[in-house]
Protein backbone atom coordinates (compact mmCIF):
# COMPACT_ATOMS: atom_id res chain seq x y z
CA UNK A 1 0.00 0.00 0.00
CA UNK A 2 1.24 3.46 -0.93
CA UNK A 3 -0.04 6.42 1.04
CA UNK A 4 0.48 10.03 0.09
CA UNK A 5 -0.29 12.24 3.06
CA UNK A 6 -0.68 15.95 2.38
CA UNK A 7 2.15 15.89 -0.12
CA UNK A 8 3.16 19.19 -1.67
CA UNK A 9 6.07 20.14 -3.92
CA UNK A 10 7.24 23.64 -4.71
CA UNK A 11 10.06 24.10 -7.22
CA UNK A 12 12.46 27.01 -6.75
CA UNK A 13 10.13 28.67 -4.24
CA UNK A 14 7.73 29.60 -7.01
CA UNK A 15 6.27 26.75 -9.07
CA UNK A 16 3.74 24.85 -7.00
CA UNK A 17 3.84 21.55 -8.84
CA UNK A 18 1.78 19.57 -6.35
CA UNK A 19 -0.44 20.61 -3.54
CA UNK A 20 -2.17 18.76 -0.82
CA UNK A 21 -2.05 15.31 -2.34
CA UNK A 22 -3.87 12.74 -0.24
CA UNK A 23 -3.99 9.38 -1.88
CA UNK A 24 -4.06 5.75 -0.93
CA UNK A 25 -3.11 3.12 -3.48
CA UNK A 26 -3.69 -0.44 -2.45
CA UNK A 27 -1.77 -3.28 -4.03
CA UNK A 28 -1.47 -5.42 -5.96
CA UNK A 29 -2.82 -3.15 -8.65
CA UNK A 30 -1.87 -1.24 -11.77
CA UNK A 31 -2.66 2.41 -11.30
CA UNK A 32 -2.56 4.99 -14.07
CA UNK A 33 -1.58 8.55 -13.29
CA UNK A 34 -2.90 10.89 -15.91
CA UNK A 35 -3.07 14.61 -16.47
CA UNK A 36 -1.93 17.26 -18.93
CA UNK A 37 1.68 18.32 -19.46
CA UNK A 38 3.14 20.02 -16.44
CA UNK A 39 0.41 18.71 -14.13
CA UNK A 40 2.89 17.18 -11.71
CA UNK A 41 2.70 13.51 -12.70
CA UNK A 42 6.45 13.01 -12.78
CA UNK A 43 6.79 15.11 -9.68
CA UNK A 44 4.41 12.80 -7.83
CA UNK A 45 6.71 9.84 -8.44
CA UNK A 46 9.80 11.87 -7.63
CA UNK A 47 8.25 13.04 -4.38
CA UNK A 48 7.68 9.43 -3.37
CA UNK A 49 11.27 8.57 -4.22
CA UNK A 50 12.60 11.54 -2.31
CA UNK A 51 14.32 12.85 -5.44
CA UNK A 52 12.57 16.20 -5.01
CA UNK A 53 11.95 17.92 -1.73
CA UNK A 54 8.36 17.49 -0.71
CA UNK A 55 6.24 18.45 2.26
CA UNK A 56 3.97 15.84 3.80
CA UNK A 57 4.70 12.15 3.84
CA UNK A 58 4.77 9.20 1.51
CA UNK A 59 4.50 5.81 3.16
CA UNK A 60 5.08 2.35 1.75
CA UNK A 61 3.32 -0.25 3.85
CA UNK A 62 3.60 2.07 6.81
CA UNK A 63 7.30 2.85 6.35
CA UNK A 64 8.48 6.19 5.04
CA UNK A 65 9.09 5.64 1.33
CA UNK A 66 12.49 7.29 1.18
CA UNK A 67 13.69 4.79 3.78
CA UNK A 68 12.50 1.88 1.67
CA UNK A 69 13.91 2.85 -1.71
CA UNK A 70 15.17 -0.63 -2.44
CA UNK A 71 11.58 -1.78 -2.61
CA UNK A 72 10.89 0.52 -5.55
CA UNK A 73 12.01 0.06 -9.13
CA UNK A 74 11.79 3.28 -11.13
CA UNK A 75 11.96 4.10 -14.79
CA UNK A 76 12.26 7.81 -15.37
CA UNK A 77 10.43 9.66 -18.12
CA UNK A 78 12.44 9.88 -21.35
CA UNK A 79 15.40 9.09 -19.23
CA UNK A 80 18.49 11.22 -19.35
CA UNK A 81 20.47 8.12 -20.27
CA UNK A 82 23.10 8.72 -22.92
CA UNK A 83 22.48 5.93 -25.41
CA UNK A 84 26.02 6.15 -26.72
CA UNK A 85 27.38 5.07 -23.33
CA UNK A 86 29.60 2.01 -23.71
CA UNK A 87 27.42 -0.61 -22.09
CA UNK A 88 25.80 -3.74 -23.48
CA UNK A 89 22.14 -4.60 -23.17
CA UNK A 90 22.93 -7.42 -20.76
CA UNK A 91 25.09 -5.22 -18.54
CA UNK A 92 22.47 -2.52 -18.52
CA UNK A 93 19.83 -4.96 -17.32
CA UNK A 94 22.31 -6.28 -14.74
CA UNK A 95 22.40 -2.84 -13.15
CA UNK A 96 19.11 -3.95 -11.65
CA UNK A 97 21.10 -6.14 -9.27
CA UNK A 98 23.05 -3.19 -7.90
CA UNK A 99 20.62 -2.15 -5.15
CA UNK A 100 21.13 -5.48 -3.45
CA UNK A 101 24.90 -5.52 -3.99
CA UNK A 102 27.26 -4.16 -1.38
CA UNK A 103 30.76 -2.82 -1.76
CA UNK A 104 33.21 -5.46 -3.09
CA UNK A 105 30.40 -7.81 -4.07
CA UNK A 106 30.19 -9.08 -7.58
CA UNK A 107 27.15 -10.21 -9.51
CA UNK A 108 26.50 -13.88 -8.81
CA UNK A 109 25.70 -16.58 -11.33
CA UNK A 110 22.05 -16.72 -10.17
CA UNK A 111 21.79 -13.00 -10.70
CA UNK A 112 23.13 -13.31 -14.23
CA UNK A 113 20.53 -16.01 -14.77
CA UNK A 114 17.79 -13.65 -13.66
CA UNK A 115 19.21 -11.05 -16.05
CA UNK A 116 19.02 -13.48 -18.94
CA UNK A 117 15.53 -14.52 -17.95
CA UNK A 118 14.38 -10.90 -17.86
CA UNK A 119 15.85 -10.37 -21.32
CA UNK A 120 13.95 -13.38 -22.54
CA UNK A 121 10.71 -12.07 -21.06
CA UNK A 122 11.03 -8.74 -22.86
CA UNK A 123 12.09 -10.54 -26.03
CA UNK A 124 15.60 -9.18 -26.29
CA UNK A 125 17.73 -12.28 -25.72
CA UNK A 126 19.23 -11.98 -29.17
CA UNK A 127 20.31 -8.42 -28.60
CA UNK A 128 21.89 -9.10 -25.22
CA UNK A 129 25.49 -8.61 -26.33
CA UNK A 130 24.77 -5.53 -28.37
CA UNK A 131 25.65 -2.07 -27.24
CA UNK A 132 22.55 -0.13 -26.22
CA UNK A 133 23.20 2.43 -28.95
CA UNK A 134 22.25 -0.27 -31.44
CA UNK A 135 18.71 -0.53 -30.10
CA UNK A 136 15.57 1.24 -31.23
CA UNK A 137 13.74 3.49 -28.78
CA UNK A 138 11.10 0.86 -28.10
CA UNK A 139 13.67 -1.87 -27.58
CA UNK A 140 15.53 0.32 -25.14
CA UNK A 141 12.33 0.94 -23.20
CA UNK A 142 12.03 -2.84 -22.92
CA UNK A 143 15.58 -2.99 -21.60
CA UNK A 144 14.57 -0.61 -18.83
CA UNK A 145 11.56 -2.80 -18.04
CA UNK A 146 13.86 -5.81 -17.90
CA UNK A 147 16.07 -3.94 -15.48
CA UNK A 148 13.02 -3.36 -13.26
CA UNK A 149 12.26 -7.07 -13.39
CA UNK A 150 15.77 -7.85 -12.20
CA UNK A 151 15.41 -5.38 -9.35
CA UNK A 152 12.60 -7.61 -8.17
CA UNK A 153 11.06 -4.73 -6.24
CA UNK A 154 7.56 -4.85 -4.79
CA UNK A 155 6.69 -1.47 -6.24
CA UNK A 156 7.23 -0.31 -9.80
CA UNK A 157 7.08 3.36 -10.74
CA UNK A 158 7.08 3.85 -14.48
CA UNK A 159 7.02 7.35 -15.94
CA UNK A 160 5.56 7.31 -19.47
CA UNK A 161 6.94 3.89 -20.36
CA UNK A 162 5.09 3.78 -23.68
CA UNK A 163 6.42 6.91 -25.27
CA UNK A 164 8.08 6.05 -28.58
CA UNK A 165 7.06 2.41 -28.23
CA UNK A 166 5.14 0.68 -31.00
CA UNK A 167 1.96 -1.29 -30.38
CA UNK A 168 3.77 -4.62 -30.35
CA UNK A 169 6.24 -3.51 -27.68
CA UNK A 170 3.48 -1.79 -25.76
CA UNK A 171 1.44 -4.99 -25.71
CA UNK A 172 4.47 -6.96 -24.57
CA UNK A 173 5.16 -4.51 -21.77
CA UNK A 174 1.57 -4.34 -20.57
CA UNK A 175 1.39 -8.15 -20.51
CA UNK A 176 4.53 -8.27 -18.42
CA UNK A 177 3.11 -5.70 -16.04
CA UNK A 178 -0.17 -7.56 -15.66
CA UNK A 179 1.79 -10.69 -14.95
CA UNK A 180 3.78 -8.85 -12.29
CA UNK A 181 0.57 -7.62 -10.72
CA UNK A 182 -0.70 -11.16 -10.50
CA UNK A 183 2.51 -11.93 -8.61
CA UNK A 184 1.66 -9.30 -6.03
CA UNK A 185 3.43 -6.19 -7.30
CA UNK A 186 1.99 -2.72 -7.07
CA UNK A 187 2.56 -0.69 -10.19
CA UNK A 188 2.20 3.04 -10.83
CA UNK A 189 2.28 4.16 -14.43
CA UNK A 190 2.33 7.76 -15.58
CA UNK A 191 0.47 7.78 -18.86
CA UNK A 192 -0.84 10.42 -21.14
CA UNK A 193 -2.71 8.67 -23.93
CA UNK A 194 -6.28 9.03 -22.73
CA UNK A 195 -7.61 6.69 -25.39
CA UNK A 196 -5.89 3.62 -24.09
CA UNK A 197 -6.57 3.94 -20.43
CA UNK A 198 -9.43 1.47 -20.19
CA UNK A 199 -7.79 -1.91 -20.60
CA UNK A 200 -4.55 -1.02 -18.90
CA UNK A 201 -5.35 0.11 -15.41
CA UNK A 202 -7.32 -1.14 -12.45
CA UNK A 203 -7.73 2.44 -11.36
CA UNK A 204 -6.60 5.88 -12.41
CA UNK A 205 -5.60 9.07 -10.65
CA UNK A 206 -6.35 12.24 -12.56
CA UNK A 207 -3.99 14.98 -11.62
CA UNK A 208 -3.55 18.64 -12.23
CA UNK A 209 -1.41 19.99 -9.44
CA UNK A 210 -3.99 18.52 -7.12
CA UNK A 211 -6.03 15.39 -7.41
CA UNK A 212 -8.99 15.93 -9.71
CA UNK A 213 -10.38 12.44 -9.26
CA UNK A 214 -9.24 8.95 -8.39
CA UNK A 215 -10.88 5.57 -8.69
CA UNK A 216 -12.15 3.20 -11.35
CA UNK A 217 -11.59 4.44 -14.87
CA UNK A 218 -15.28 4.88 -15.66
CA UNK A 219 -15.88 6.94 -12.52
CA UNK A 220 -12.92 9.19 -13.16
CA UNK A 221 -13.40 9.75 -16.87
CA UNK A 222 -16.39 12.02 -16.68
CA UNK A 223 -16.71 15.11 -18.79
CA UNK A 224 -16.59 17.48 -15.79
CA UNK A 225 -13.42 15.84 -14.47
CA UNK A 226 -11.76 15.93 -17.87
CA UNK A 227 -12.64 19.58 -18.24
CA UNK A 228 -11.26 20.37 -14.82
CA UNK A 229 -8.00 18.63 -15.63
CA UNK A 230 -7.51 19.52 -19.25
CA UNK A 231 -9.51 22.70 -19.72
CA UNK A 232 -12.78 23.40 -21.49
CA UNK A 233 -11.59 22.60 -24.98
CA UNK A 234 -10.88 18.94 -24.57
CA UNK A 235 -12.44 16.53 -27.01
CA UNK A 236 -12.54 12.97 -25.83
CA UNK A 237 -13.69 10.16 -27.99
CA UNK A 238 -14.47 7.09 -26.02
CA UNK A 239 -14.31 3.78 -27.80
CA UNK A 240 -17.43 1.62 -27.81
Amino acid sequence: MIEFQKVGVVYNNEVEALKNIDLVIKGPTITGIIGPNGSGKSTLLKAALGVVRASGKVMLDGIQANKALKRIAYVAQKSSIDLSFPITVRECVALGTLPSLGLFKRITREEWESVDKALEIVGLSEQSQRQISALSGGQFQRVLIARCLVQNAEYLFLDEPFVGVDMVSEDIIIKILKDLKSKGKTILIVHHDLNKVEGYFDQVVMLNREIIAAGKTAQVFTVPNLKRAYGENILVERGE
Partner: protein, 279 residues
Protein backbone atom coordinates in the same frame (compact mmCIF):
# COMPACT_ATOMS: atom_id res chain seq x y z
CA UNK B 1 67.83 5.39 -32.76
CA UNK B 2 65.75 2.91 -30.82
CA UNK B 3 69.00 1.29 -29.73
CA UNK B 4 70.19 4.66 -28.53
CA UNK B 5 67.01 5.17 -26.54
CA UNK B 6 67.35 1.74 -24.96
CA UNK B 7 70.98 2.40 -24.22
CA UNK B 8 69.94 5.70 -22.64
CA UNK B 9 67.42 3.84 -20.51
CA UNK B 10 70.12 1.50 -19.27
CA UNK B 11 72.54 4.30 -18.58
CA UNK B 12 70.60 7.28 -17.33
CA UNK B 13 68.62 7.26 -14.17
CA UNK B 14 66.70 10.37 -15.27
CA UNK B 15 65.45 8.56 -18.37
CA UNK B 16 64.31 5.60 -16.29
CA UNK B 17 62.42 7.95 -14.02
CA UNK B 18 60.91 9.64 -17.04
CA UNK B 19 59.78 6.38 -18.59
CA UNK B 20 58.22 5.01 -15.42
CA UNK B 21 56.49 8.27 -14.62
CA UNK B 22 55.22 8.68 -18.17
CA UNK B 23 53.78 5.18 -18.26
CA UNK B 24 52.09 5.51 -14.87
CA UNK B 25 50.68 8.91 -15.76
CA UNK B 26 49.50 7.57 -19.12
CA UNK B 27 47.66 4.69 -17.49
CA UNK B 28 45.94 6.65 -14.76
CA UNK B 29 45.01 9.51 -17.07
CA UNK B 30 43.47 7.07 -19.52
CA UNK B 31 41.40 5.43 -16.80
CA UNK B 32 40.09 8.60 -15.19
CA UNK B 33 39.67 10.16 -18.63
CA UNK B 34 37.03 7.53 -19.47
CA UNK B 35 34.77 8.80 -16.72
CA UNK B 36 35.53 12.39 -17.63
CA UNK B 37 34.44 12.07 -21.23
CA UNK B 38 31.45 9.86 -20.49
CA UNK B 39 30.15 12.38 -18.00
CA UNK B 40 30.73 15.24 -20.39
CA UNK B 41 33.27 16.78 -18.05
CA UNK B 42 36.09 17.37 -20.53
CA UNK B 43 35.98 21.09 -19.99
CA UNK B 44 36.11 20.52 -16.26
CA UNK B 45 39.24 18.44 -16.79
CA UNK B 46 40.81 21.29 -18.66
CA UNK B 47 39.84 23.77 -15.96
CA UNK B 48 41.18 21.76 -13.07
CA UNK B 49 44.46 21.09 -14.79
CA UNK B 50 44.98 24.83 -15.31
CA UNK B 51 43.80 25.65 -11.83
CA UNK B 52 46.63 23.72 -10.19
CA UNK B 53 49.15 26.30 -11.37
CA UNK B 54 48.89 28.75 -8.46
CA UNK B 55 49.18 25.76 -6.15
CA UNK B 56 52.52 24.90 -7.66
CA UNK B 57 53.69 28.48 -7.18
CA UNK B 58 52.57 28.55 -3.56
CA UNK B 59 54.36 25.27 -2.99
CA UNK B 60 57.58 26.81 -4.36
CA UNK B 61 57.17 29.83 -2.14
CA UNK B 62 56.51 27.75 0.96
CA UNK B 63 59.11 25.22 -0.09
CA UNK B 64 56.80 22.22 0.13
CA UNK B 65 56.27 19.49 -2.45
CA UNK B 66 54.34 20.76 -5.43
CA UNK B 67 51.86 17.88 -5.14
CA UNK B 68 50.40 19.33 -1.97
CA UNK B 69 49.88 22.86 -3.26
CA UNK B 70 48.57 21.74 -6.63
CA UNK B 71 46.06 19.34 -5.13
CA UNK B 72 44.69 21.97 -2.76
CA UNK B 73 44.17 24.49 -5.53
CA UNK B 74 42.70 21.90 -7.88
CA UNK B 75 40.10 20.94 -5.31
CA UNK B 76 39.42 24.59 -4.56
CA UNK B 77 38.71 25.23 -8.23
CA UNK B 78 36.35 22.27 -8.51
CA UNK B 79 34.45 23.38 -5.42
CA UNK B 80 34.14 26.94 -6.72
CA UNK B 81 32.94 25.80 -10.13
CA UNK B 82 30.36 23.43 -8.70
CA UNK B 83 29.21 26.06 -6.22
CA UNK B 84 28.68 28.72 -8.89
CA UNK B 85 26.88 26.24 -11.10
CA UNK B 86 24.53 25.01 -8.42
CA UNK B 87 23.75 28.34 -6.83
CA UNK B 88 23.00 30.45 -9.87
CA UNK B 89 21.61 30.19 -13.35
CA UNK B 90 25.10 30.56 -14.79
CA UNK B 91 25.90 27.56 -16.97
CA UNK B 92 28.77 25.32 -16.06
CA UNK B 93 30.96 26.18 -19.06
CA UNK B 94 30.79 29.83 -18.07
CA UNK B 95 31.58 29.05 -14.44
CA UNK B 96 34.48 26.92 -15.62
CA UNK B 97 35.80 29.62 -17.93
CA UNK B 98 35.79 32.28 -15.25
CA UNK B 99 37.37 30.08 -12.63
CA UNK B 100 40.17 28.52 -14.57
CA UNK B 101 41.30 31.67 -16.33
CA UNK B 102 41.54 33.49 -13.00
CA UNK B 103 43.43 30.61 -11.44
CA UNK B 104 45.79 30.49 -14.38
CA UNK B 105 46.42 34.23 -14.20
CA UNK B 106 46.95 34.02 -10.46
CA UNK B 107 49.37 31.21 -11.03
CA UNK B 108 51.45 33.17 -13.52
CA UNK B 109 51.68 36.11 -11.10
CA UNK B 110 52.58 33.89 -8.16
CA UNK B 111 55.24 32.08 -10.12
CA UNK B 112 56.70 35.45 -11.08
CA UNK B 113 56.75 36.41 -7.40
CA UNK B 114 58.32 33.13 -6.44
CA UNK B 115 61.23 34.00 -8.73
CA UNK B 116 61.17 30.61 -10.34
CA UNK B 117 60.20 32.02 -13.68
CA UNK B 118 62.64 29.71 -15.38
CA UNK B 119 60.38 26.88 -14.28
CA UNK B 120 57.21 28.42 -15.60
CA UNK B 121 57.79 26.96 -19.02
CA UNK B 122 58.27 23.53 -17.51
CA UNK B 123 55.15 23.76 -15.44
CA UNK B 124 53.13 24.87 -18.41
CA UNK B 125 54.56 22.36 -20.85
CA UNK B 126 55.94 19.55 -18.72
CA UNK B 127 59.44 18.42 -17.97
CA UNK B 128 59.38 14.70 -17.66
CA UNK B 129 63.13 14.38 -18.16
CA UNK B 130 63.68 16.22 -14.89
CA UNK B 131 61.45 14.05 -12.73
CA UNK B 132 63.08 13.40 -9.35
CA UNK B 133 62.92 10.09 -7.51
CA UNK B 134 60.57 11.54 -4.93
CA UNK B 135 58.18 12.77 -7.63
CA UNK B 136 58.26 9.43 -9.35
CA UNK B 137 57.34 7.66 -6.13
CA UNK B 138 54.59 10.13 -5.30
CA UNK B 139 53.22 9.64 -8.80
CA UNK B 140 53.18 5.88 -8.36
CA UNK B 141 51.55 5.98 -4.95
CA UNK B 142 48.95 8.58 -5.94
CA UNK B 143 48.13 6.66 -9.09
CA UNK B 144 47.69 3.43 -7.17
CA UNK B 145 45.33 5.19 -4.79
CA UNK B 146 43.32 6.60 -7.68
CA UNK B 147 43.07 3.21 -9.35
CA UNK B 148 42.13 1.52 -6.10
CA UNK B 149 39.31 3.98 -5.48
CA UNK B 150 38.01 3.38 -8.99
CA UNK B 151 38.11 -0.38 -8.55
CA UNK B 152 36.35 -0.20 -5.18
CA UNK B 153 33.63 2.14 -6.36
CA UNK B 154 33.39 0.89 -9.93
CA UNK B 155 29.71 -0.09 -9.72
CA UNK B 156 28.72 3.19 -8.14
CA UNK B 157 30.73 5.23 -10.62
CA UNK B 158 29.22 3.25 -13.47
CA UNK B 159 25.66 3.78 -12.32
CA UNK B 160 26.02 7.46 -11.42
CA UNK B 161 27.70 8.12 -14.77
CA UNK B 162 25.30 6.07 -16.85
CA UNK B 163 21.96 6.63 -15.17
CA UNK B 164 22.05 9.27 -12.43
CA UNK B 165 18.25 9.24 -12.25
CA UNK B 166 18.20 5.61 -11.22
CA UNK B 167 21.05 6.22 -8.80
CA UNK B 168 19.13 9.04 -7.16
CA UNK B 169 15.96 6.99 -7.00
CA UNK B 170 17.93 4.35 -5.11
CA UNK B 171 19.00 6.96 -2.63
CA UNK B 172 22.61 7.04 -3.78
CA UNK B 173 24.48 10.26 -3.12
CA UNK B 174 25.15 11.23 -6.71
CA UNK B 175 26.91 14.42 -5.62
CA UNK B 176 29.31 12.47 -3.47
CA UNK B 177 30.50 10.54 -6.50
CA UNK B 178 30.74 13.74 -8.50
CA UNK B 179 33.10 15.21 -5.91
CA UNK B 180 34.98 11.96 -5.67
CA UNK B 181 35.65 12.08 -9.39
CA UNK B 182 36.70 15.72 -9.15
CA UNK B 183 39.12 14.73 -6.44
CA UNK B 184 40.54 11.91 -8.57
CA UNK B 185 40.69 14.25 -11.53
CA UNK B 186 42.69 16.73 -9.51
CA UNK B 187 45.14 14.07 -8.37
CA UNK B 188 45.59 12.87 -11.93
CA UNK B 189 46.02 16.41 -13.21
CA UNK B 190 48.80 16.97 -10.71
CA UNK B 191 50.63 13.81 -11.69
CA UNK B 192 50.13 14.46 -15.40
CA UNK B 193 51.53 17.97 -15.02
CA UNK B 194 55.04 16.53 -14.93
CA UNK B 195 54.49 14.60 -18.09
CA UNK B 196 52.77 17.03 -20.41
CA UNK B 197 52.46 20.25 -18.41
CA UNK B 198 49.33 22.01 -17.17
CA UNK B 199 48.35 23.32 -20.59
CA UNK B 200 48.22 19.90 -22.20
CA UNK B 201 46.95 17.67 -19.37
CA UNK B 202 43.49 17.63 -20.81
CA UNK B 203 44.85 15.99 -23.96
CA UNK B 204 46.25 13.09 -21.97
CA UNK B 205 42.97 12.72 -20.11
CA UNK B 206 40.67 12.89 -23.07
CA UNK B 207 42.43 11.67 -26.21
CA UNK B 208 43.29 8.08 -25.15
CA UNK B 209 39.85 7.69 -23.56
CA UNK B 210 38.13 9.01 -26.67
CA UNK B 211 40.19 6.68 -28.83
CA UNK B 212 39.26 3.70 -26.67
CA UNK B 213 35.63 4.75 -26.84
CA UNK B 214 35.69 4.29 -30.60
CA UNK B 215 36.52 0.61 -30.29
CA UNK B 216 34.72 -0.70 -27.23
CA UNK B 217 31.20 -1.50 -26.18
CA UNK B 218 31.65 -1.86 -22.44
CA UNK B 219 33.06 0.54 -19.89
CA UNK B 220 35.53 -2.00 -18.58
CA UNK B 221 36.96 -2.64 -22.03
CA UNK B 222 37.12 1.08 -22.65
CA UNK B 223 39.04 1.65 -19.42
CA UNK B 224 41.61 -1.05 -20.13
CA UNK B 225 42.11 0.11 -23.68
CA UNK B 226 42.40 3.76 -22.65
CA UNK B 227 45.00 2.82 -20.04
CA UNK B 228 46.94 0.90 -22.68
CA UNK B 229 46.78 3.70 -25.20
CA UNK B 230 47.73 6.25 -22.55
CA UNK B 231 50.79 4.24 -21.60
CA UNK B 232 51.76 3.50 -25.20
CA UNK B 233 51.55 7.07 -26.46
CA UNK B 234 53.51 8.21 -23.42
CA UNK B 235 56.35 5.81 -24.23
CA UNK B 236 56.34 6.68 -27.92
CA UNK B 237 56.16 10.39 -27.16
CA UNK B 238 59.04 10.12 -24.74
CA UNK B 239 61.06 8.20 -27.31
CA UNK B 240 60.41 10.76 -30.03
CA UNK B 241 61.03 13.72 -27.75
CA UNK B 242 64.28 12.24 -26.43
CA UNK B 243 65.58 11.09 -29.79
CA UNK B 244 64.89 14.29 -31.71
CA UNK B 245 65.44 16.59 -28.76
CA UNK B 246 61.98 18.11 -28.89
CA UNK B 247 59.51 18.79 -26.09
CA UNK B 248 58.43 15.44 -24.68
CA UNK B 249 55.03 16.62 -23.43
CA UNK B 250 54.05 17.91 -26.82
CA UNK B 251 55.35 14.77 -28.52
CA UNK B 252 53.13 12.68 -26.27
CA UNK B 253 50.10 14.80 -27.05
CA UNK B 254 50.74 14.75 -30.80
CA UNK B 255 51.26 10.98 -30.72
CA UNK B 256 47.95 10.57 -28.91
CA UNK B 257 46.25 12.81 -31.44
CA UNK B 258 47.63 10.82 -34.37
CA UNK B 259 46.46 7.56 -32.79
CA UNK B 260 43.03 9.09 -32.33
CA UNK B 261 42.92 10.31 -35.90
CA UNK B 262 43.81 6.93 -37.35
CA UNK B 263 41.29 5.25 -35.05
CA UNK B 264 38.64 7.69 -36.10
CA UNK B 265 38.88 6.47 -39.67
CA UNK B 266 39.18 2.76 -39.00
CA UNK B 267 36.99 2.25 -35.95
CA UNK B 268 33.93 0.05 -36.35
CA UNK B 269 31.78 2.54 -34.46
CA UNK B 270 32.55 5.38 -36.78
CA UNK B 271 32.35 3.28 -39.91
CA UNK B 272 33.67 6.36 -41.64
CA UNK B 273 35.45 4.44 -44.35
CA UNK B 274 32.54 2.11 -44.93
CA UNK B 275 30.23 5.03 -45.32
CA UNK B 276 32.62 6.64 -47.75
CA UNK B 277 32.92 3.49 -49.76
CA UNK B 278 29.19 2.97 -49.92
CA UNK B 279 28.61 6.45 -51.28
Amino acid sequence: MLAEFIHGLQTFHFLQNALITAVVVGIVSGVVGCFIILRGMSLMGDAISHAVLPGVAVAYILNINFFVGATIFGIMASVIITYIKENSLIKSDTAIGITFSSFLALGVILIGLARTSTDLFHILFGNILAVQDIDKWITIVVSLIVLLVIILYFKELLLTSFDPQMAKALGMRVNFYHYMLMMLLTLVAVTAMQSVGTILIVALLITPAATAYLFTKTLKAMIFLAAGIGAAVSVVGLFIGYSYNIAVGSSIVITAAIVFLISFFISPKQRYLKRKVRK
